[in-house]
Amino acid sequence: MSDYSMKDIEWAKINRDVLASLESPRKEFWMVLSVCVLLVLCGAAAEAYQYNEGLGVALMNRPHFWQLYISNFVFWIGMSHSGTLLSAILLLTQADWRKPIYRFAEAMTLFSILTAAIFPVIHLGRVWNMYWVLPYPNERTIWPNFRSPLLWDAAAITTYATSSVLFLYIGMIPDLAICRDNATGWRKKLYTALSIGWMGRASEWMAFRKTYVLLACFLVPLAVSVHSIVASDFAMSIMPDWHITSFPPYFVAGALYSGCAAIITLFVLLRYVFKFEEYMTTEIMDKTAKLTFAIAMVWNYLNLGEYASIWYSNDMFEKEVLLEKFFGPYHWVVWGMLICALIAPFAMAFKKVRHNMWAMFWLSLVLQLGMWLERFQIVSPPLASNHEPWTWAVVWPGTVQLTITAASFGWFTMLFLIFCKVFPSVSMYEVKEMVFHRRKASSRTDMEDLSKVKDEMIKTEEGLS
């Protein structure tokens, strides 16, 4: 426990520091936010154009029926997985270094799902009929096709989005109560409504703990199944290099990988923008980097295993696509991916890199670029060299697709920044808990004080009830 430098933070200071993040961010915050809003507006304009003209303006064609929209969808869904990993798995394994950083990781989960959910919608030819995918009751008793992985997608995303909202919200209730007690104006009203009358009674804490752990247990298998279903979009088809049995675990590993990289990026940014240096320490970064490195190695293994199984299967079509990936028109995407996502993570093997915040920031961006390229090379090259040689064609995404892609990054960052401004992005009560356990370990005297506080709390509760 001695390797944490935050054990001396006072409880009141925790409240003060976190609540300050709701009030006074650096001015870079507003600059980034306005850029994001601008990007979102550009994306909305591109989508309006595409909606009116038809999907042809996105420069997709036959055989490239799918392109950036689908690879972006996989990218964002993937990013949403690490929040759950960090929060739920580390909660269940009682790794307490997660505490200062899990709140924003959960928020990241939610907002990347909201970003991902946009893509299958704008990708549809007839957006106005998108609700037909859902099994809603209708007068003609028409069901959707339950065999289609796209239907599973719709179900999985809705479930995952709902559970992540619940997980994020429930984990935030005690903090919302703290905010409520300190806020004025519209914030007071908002936090009062959201904290649903939290008083901090022992019975409330018990119910809270149970719910939180229960939700965590539910979320872990759900997260794995969600990305397996996304992988099924490809694995259930008969396209060469999509029809791969190892895709579900490969996708899950890739999801956790890119998600951890995103957590590192946001870690450094939040630490800088909201002045959270005392909470998000180098030791926590070190642990996050180690975790990312481990996941990167799993992903590497599955990736190379996929190449090997295609190569040794000697299937004519699959081998053709594999060779086209490495030496064909999309070769720089594939090599870029291999350099950024397969070789670059080895930098995290060095302690010097892991302890340098800005080095980790740039490295995490490189890893994310690699994983974004990975999603592109999953979708496009197999379509370019499919079963039917007469239709082979190379297509690069056009302005509309690229604008909407840029807008998706703006949309995500915008939602995230607004969240950080309105809600506490560091969990106050969990950090206090962490500090409490440290004190318990370091000195007996503090413990006695705290047990007095505990006794008082119980007395108050008896009085209240």
Binding site: E53, G54, L55, G56, L59, M60, N61, R62, P63, H64, F65, W66, P120, H123, L124, G125, R126, V127, N129, M130, W132, V133, T141, I142, W143, P144, N145, R147, S148, P149, L150, L151, A154, D233, M236, S237, I238, M239, L383, N386, H387, E388, P389, W390, T391, A393, V395
Partner: protein, 284 residues
Amino acid sequence: MTLKRMLENWSDLRKQDYYEDEPYMWGMSIDLNKCIGCGSCVTACYAENNLPAVGKEHYSTGHAMHWMRIERYWEEPEGEADIDIKDSDYPERGAHYTPMMCQQCNHAPCEPVCPVAATYHTPDGLNAQVYNRCVGSRYCGNNCPYKVRYFNFFDFLKDVPHPLEMQLNPDVSVRTKGVMEKCTFCVQRIRSAKDAAEDEGHRDYIEDGSFKTACQQTCPTEAIVFGNLKDEESQVKKLWASHEVELNHFEQDKSEDVRGYRVLEELNVEPCVMYLDRVRDTEA
């Protein structure tokens, strides 16, 4: 289908060959020896099925809507007779044409992936596309190994100048942007032939050759033969039988002198179109 009905008829629905007792299974045979690559089948298909002529620009960006297309492959030289070709300015031995349209697969990979069940199998063996139901996820197009599904990337037929809209076929719906479409084996002709047969009093028999698909009708060399594969007397059934091709049957070792094969049949999609291989004498 309600859940109750589904549970009541569970054993029926789980039957291996659900449409076994149906009187029709439409199939085709295309003789590549006879095909001269003239493209008249393509033109006929455009006229019959209200296909938009997209123009040069859209064609070059891959947005063409030809349900029937002529695939041209240049053949590499091989054998004694081709020695001169190898040194000439024209390194190919000549072109090889394959008319390619929807193969109406019986195990169609496009069907299970559609989220709204807009594409399904009809009892007479057609792979039907319901334009009104399609939401345009384009998954079917990706999963089609022949890449014969065509997506309306634009509203091509929105502004047809008067009086050109008068030439549209009233039996075929005009598709809007955002829906997938493909060869239907001229389903409108099949349906009207069925209606005519019913008027004459026989429900499950249409005389072979009483109607033709547009491509078959137009082919100058009669390379395309279309008919009912369940009718033992039909020309297409006889062709399939004589070239040792049958449905639900995939055999690698055939007799040497038969030319019949189905494209990519090793994918086990059970296409309903048989091609007869082109024979060239490379030794003489």
